[in-house]
Structure formats: structure tokens, C-alpha cells
Amino acid sequence: MSLLSFLDRSHTIAKPGFSRWMVPPAALCVHLCIGQAYAYSVFNLPMTKLIGIGQSAPGDWKLTQLGWIFSIAIFFLGVSSAVFGRWVEEGGPRKAMFTAALCWAGGFFISAIGVYAHMLWLIYLGYGVLGGIALGIGYISPVSTLIKWFPDRPGMATGMAIMGFGGGAFIASPLSVWLMSKFTTATHIGVAETFIVLGIVYFFFMIVGSIIVRVPAPGWKPEGYVAPTQSVGLITRNDVFVYDALKTPQFWLIWWILCLNVTAGIGVLGQASAMSQEMFPGQITPVAAAGFVGLMSLFNMGGRFFWASTSDYIGRRNTYFVFMVLGFVLYCLVPHTGSIGSVVGFVCAFLVIISMYGGGFSTVPAYLRDMFGTRYVGAIHGLLLTAWSMAGIFGPVLVNYIREYNVTHGVPKAQAYNTTMYIMAGLLVIGFICNYFVKAVAERYHMKANDPRAHDALGSPAAARA
């Protein structure tokens, strides 16, 4: 069997007796690796001293230049997941995971050359473009596979994988710092070598995931599971073709729900350290603030599993109602915690907020599956991730610029974030309204049995619904 045929969807169909519990670790192999993106900032400071070693020299890169690497990667995450979504869905998870592994490792290797030759554009190309494409393909690759293996608990299944994306930084951050310390000498900073080692390690991990992964055989269902024969409420038994989904108001309502939920979370996530110290001067030290950021990351990861699993019981729409209502209350309370000096209240509020930020990411694949069916859920999810790219720009801009505006207009630093908190709360009100208007997809968008698009690489419609 050639390598290319080994990667085909047809060669990933599980044989009888294959345990579906092998699939979440396969998904985690990919998500834990690409989750490194959240820890990329550990390279920023060392990369500003590649020439000067001890301190930045005139020819060294500036932080503002290096900040673009992450931004480009997140931009290409959204673009690639939207462009390659259908290919990922039809080509199967193994081919997608393998491609993501090649791009991810290749991105690190090209970046290593960029660091070695001190050519920043090579890092933009390597980690930014190629790494961003790996992020997009890798992120969506196991989603629809997991949903098909766990039709009884789709939220929990995708929550597990997407939790891995949040948890990848916990591995990458200490590993990167440790590797750099091993490769750094008095005359050299070991960023390039660290990139090479990370590229090799991540390639190995992701390839293992692509070997383990399987898709269920046509007609497979979990033992004891009885699939509903008719659509119930928002949960459809029909499939919507990927590009037809774009024509439905439901897709765009969920796009805005995700965008607003992420905007509200991502802005404070990036500024948590500075915000906590400025709102509680003297009470939260820089060391304590670092601890706060770590705790937020844990809740970001845990929230992905908790909220997505909860959505299996209370429903996707209700879960987002909880995000919007609870988020609104907590954002409105944050300025109050600042005014009464309640660090505990502030910390608790943001831990819950950030858990819902993570939960927004992990619950949305199951929400899409409920609305548009199983067949093209991966591709539709890919298109939806453009909302993440948009929020990645809006969120930090809102927080940073409004704070800056307030400070320059004489507002004390401790109160400079109050307006932002109320704006975030307002965004969640809009999200609530969008969620309220989400209804079942109209029948005219459902794929018909004789739809020519129904007989593609995925097989028969019945198989797709397995």
C-alpha cells in the first residue's frame, strides 16, 4: 500500500471491534501540538536579542515586528480552515492530519532558517503562513470524525479535542523555555535549535495521531444508541451542503455569536496581567498577575471540556444563552469589584468569563452539527472560524484603544477598563439577541437523496449520517 493510499479516507474506516475511545487521543495528538500557538510569546523576548545576546542591539528585531508572526498565523488559521474545510471533510482525517503535520513541522524548520539567517520574512512565511495553514487544517481535521463517533455525546467529544488546543500551551511553554536554556550559550541564543527540535517532536506526535485515527464504518452506531428518526427542535436529521449553509441566516447568526463571544474573551485574555495590576495597584503584584494568567489558561482549557459536555444535556442554544447572560452579569460586576477592592471577586469573575470563552469554541461544532447535520460539519466549522480571525483583531483593539483613550483623557488607571467592560457586556447582549433568533434550518436547504453533490468522496448519504 503506497503512502498516498494509506492516507485515503477509505483506508481509515474502522474494522469491527475498534474502540471509539481511540479517536479522542488521536485528535489530542494534533490539537495539543497546534495549541503551541498560545505559547508562541515565549520566543518574542529572546528573538529581540539574537544579535545583541544580553540585550537588544541596533540590528535586532523589535517586539512590534515579532508580534506580526502570531497575527499572520491566526489570520491564516481562519483563511485555511475556510478554504480547505471541504477538502478536509472529503479527504478524511488522516490525510488532513498528515498535511497539518507537514505544514506545522515545515513552518518550524523554515522559521529556524529565518532565525539562523536573521531574515524575519522567512519566519512570517514559516510560522505565520505555513504554520497558520497547519493551525486551520489541524484544528478542524478531527472535529467531524469525533462527532460521527460520538453521536450520543458530540459536545463532550469535540470538547475533549478542542480542550487540547487550549492545553497545548501548558506543554509548549515549559518545553520551549527548557530547550532554549539548553541551546543558549554566552555568544548564542538557541531559538533556531529549539524550533528544529519542536518541529521534529510535533511532527512525530501528529503523525501518531494520523495513524491512530479512524472513521466509523457506514451504518455504525454506538451500542445501545438509538438515533432519532425525525428532527427534534433545533437538532436536524438532515444534512446541509457546505456552501448552502452560507445562504442560511442560521450560519451567520452563529458566526456573530462566536465572533462576539470570542471578542469579549480574547481582549481580556491578552491584557489580563496588566489589567489586574492596574485595577488593584499594590494588591496584585507582577508575580501574582502571572499566576492569575496561568489560572485563566487553566479555566480556558477546562471550560472547553466542561461547557461542551454540559451542552449535551442542556442543549447548544441554552449553553450560549448561559454564556451571554452570565457573561453580561460578570462583565458588569468587574468594575464594581475594582471599586470595592475585591480581588477575589475580580479573579472569580474573570475565571468564569474565560471558561465561557473556551466553552464558546468547543460548543460550536456540536451547535453546527445540530443545525446543519453531520456530513459537512467540519467544512462548515472551517468557514465559521473566520469569526475567530475577526475577533482576534477586534478584541485586543477594543481593550487596548479604549484604555489608552481613557488614560489620555485623565481617567485613573484603576478605572480605565470600566468602559471596556460595559462594552463587552453590550456585545454579549447582541450575542444573546443573535442566539434568540436561531431557529431550525428551512427544509429547502436540506440535501436531497438524489443531490449530485451527495455522491462524492464521502459515500452515500446514509453513510454520512452514521
Binding site: 471491534g17 474502540s19 495528538c29 452506531k221 499566576g291 489560572l295
Partner: protein, 42 residues
């Protein structure tokens, strides 16, 4: 219609290895972050 037949094709050892492969690094990373986070309460 095929149904899940867990335990025959996939062995318990395979499951333990697969989960350990991803679980051990993740747990170590989480523990390290948790230890660092405790600085908030000092």
C-alpha cells in the same frame, strides 16, 4: 447495521498507551501551570 464492539479489536493496552501518550504530557503541563498559578495567593 454494525454496532460498537468495544474490547475485541482494540485492546485495553492500546487504549492505555494512546491516552498515556497525550495524557501524561498534558497532566505534567497542567500541574506545572497550577504550581505557578499558586503565586497569585501568596
Amino acid at each position: 447495521m454494525a454496532t460498537a464492539n468495544q474490547g475485541q479489536g482494540t485492546t485495553t493496552l492500546q487504549l492505555v498507551l494512546a491516552w498515556g501518550f497525550v495524557g501524561i504530557p498534558l497532566v505534567l503541563g497542567v500541574l506545572q501551570t497550577l504550581v505557578n498559578s499558586m503565586k497569585l495567593f501568596h
